[in-house]
């Protein structure tokens, strides 16, 4: 019990200690859709290995078909949010689902805003 209390205290200290400097800390996600997307990403990360292995059993011609059907049932039993297809690359700042550039994880409007204010490194207005 003492060890548990100590661990808790150490964890709390580690969380508090590294961030004493006043900076903008994002404590809320932009909207609920973004939150759901975050949850899906976490669950997908947890089940990624299992899905990979079960798919390896399903998608081959060597193993008997019965085994593959059993694997089908297994993968369907996993939580729905564990599949990576459900993840949508949303804009990080505005949670816009469309018009998001993958390299910057920003929507086109935010990207344009920052680029015009010269806050995007190496981005310049095109002219040719």
């Amino acid at each position: 019990m003492a060890a548990g209390a100590l661990c808790w205290a150490l964890r709390a200290a580690r969380q508090v200690l590294p961030s004493p400097c006043p900076r903008q800390v994002r404590s809320y996600y932009v909207d609920w859709r973004m939150l759901r997307d975050v949850k899906r990403r976490k669950v997908a990360f947890e089940h990624a290995d299992e899905r990979l292995r079960i798919n390896a059993i399903r998608k081959n011609s060597i193993l008997p078909r019965e085994l593959q059907e059993a694997a089908d049932k297994d993968i369907a039993a996993l939580p729905r949010d564990s599949c990576p297809v459900r993840i949508r690359n949303r804009c990080v700042l505005t949670s816009r689902s469309r018009g998001v550039k993958r390299r910057w994880r920003l929507s086109r409007i935010v990207f344009r805003h920052f680029a015009d204010h010269a806050q995007m490194s190496g981005v310049q207005r095109a002219m040719w």
Binding site: A12, P64, A70
Partner: protein, 330 residues
């Protein structure tokens, strides 16, 4: 106490010859410095000893007179002596009495000057004892190993020009000074010669380390948090900001190390030859065929660690064991 010490003054003036008069003539400019110099030279000047003996005689008389009154300045003399005996290095009583006489002769705070003079005397005694034992650093020993390096004008010119030269010229300019430094190191090895005993060996205390680790109380953590909050000032410039980011993990460390966080200590053969993990599988059949393909794929994968690969294989093993009944039906 001021009134009682007045009769002492004329008495000390009469008894102490030129020395005391000199001191008073100097006045308040640097009386303490003069006194310290005099005390420092006391052991060298033999003739001064007679004066000290006279002082001692006068002090004894004063003690006999003022014993009943129990004055502070006089009382400090026996106190000083007892302190010295307690310390284990009794100062020369003559010097002590001389110090007290000097202190009493000054118009300033007598107790303070007396204690300071006694401290000076103690320090002198300590240094002389050390030197007698040979514990202090003898400059002779330190310098004996060193030789004066004669820099030729040509070398000096080469060094200066080497600093100013462009990057292209580095190889040509720096070979010469390198040679000379290498030669000087070869002629004298590092471990030859007498020990100088300048540095003391740092004693390792693993027990104390264990103690501190096992009991970090919540108060200690709170204190650490407070200290961190106070000392962590906002960054003054971009460099400090980047340092902070690197500490937090937001910024990578430069030059970029591609293998940060990847501590794969396994050899190549552990990555490639994974057949030893296949011992629990049946030797023939589609499962074996499948697992051999799995192993082939894993051996070609450079992104996984050996642990992860072994985990994959073990999961397959567990899965096939669970499905054994199904397989046996086939």
């Amino acid at each position: 106490s001021v009134l009682s010490t007045d009769p002492e003054k004329p008495a000390s003036k009469d008894s102490a010859p030129e020395g005391a008069a000199k001191r008073q003539e100097d006045g308040a400019e640097t009386p303490k410095q003069r006194l310290l110099d005099i005390i420092g030279n006391m052991k060298v000047e033999v003739s001064y000893r007679k004066k000290l003996q006279q002082l001692k005689a006068s002090e004894n008389q004063k003690q006999a007179i003022n014993k009943l009154e129990g004055l502070d300045s006089e009382g400090s003399v026996p106190q000083g002596i007892t302190e010295d005996t307690q310390r284990g290095k009794p100062l020369n009583p003559e010097l002590v009495k001389a110090a007290s006489a000097v202190a009493s002769s000054l118009p300033r705070d007598k107790k303070q000057t007396e204690s300071e003079l006694l401290a000076q005397l103690r320090r002198h005694e300590e240094t002389t004892d050390k030197q007698k034992k040979g514990g202090t650093i003898n400059i002779c020993n330190v310098i004996s190993e060193m030789t004066v390096k004669r820099q030729s004008l040509a070398q000096r010119g080469a060094r200066i020009s080497g600093r100013i030269s462009l990057h292209l010229d580095e190889d040509g300019q720096r070979i010469r000074p390198e040679r000379s430094s290498a030669q000087s190191i070869d002629s004298r090895s590092l471990k030859v010669g007498k020990r100088l005993n300048i540095f003391t060996k740092a004693s390792t205390e693993p027990e104390h380390a264990l103690k501190t680790v096992s009991s970090p109380t919540i108060w200690d953590l709170e204190f650490a948090k407070e200290v961190a909050a106070v000392t962590a000032q906002p960054p003054r410039n971009g460099f400090e900001e980047m340092i902070q980011w690197t500490k937090e993990g937001i910024l990578w460390e430069f030059p970029i190390d591609n293998e940060v966080g990847m501590e794969d200590d396994a050899e190549f053969h552990e990555h490639i030859f994974l057949e030893k993990h296949l011992e629990d599988f049946p030797k023939e059949g589609p499962i074996r065929h499948f697992m051999e393909l799995v192993i082939c794929g894993l051996s070609k994968n450079p992104y996984l660690s050996v642990k992860q690969k072994v985990e994959h294989i073990e999961w397959f093993q567990k899965y096939f064991e669970e499905k054994k009944e199904l397989l046996q039906e086939i």
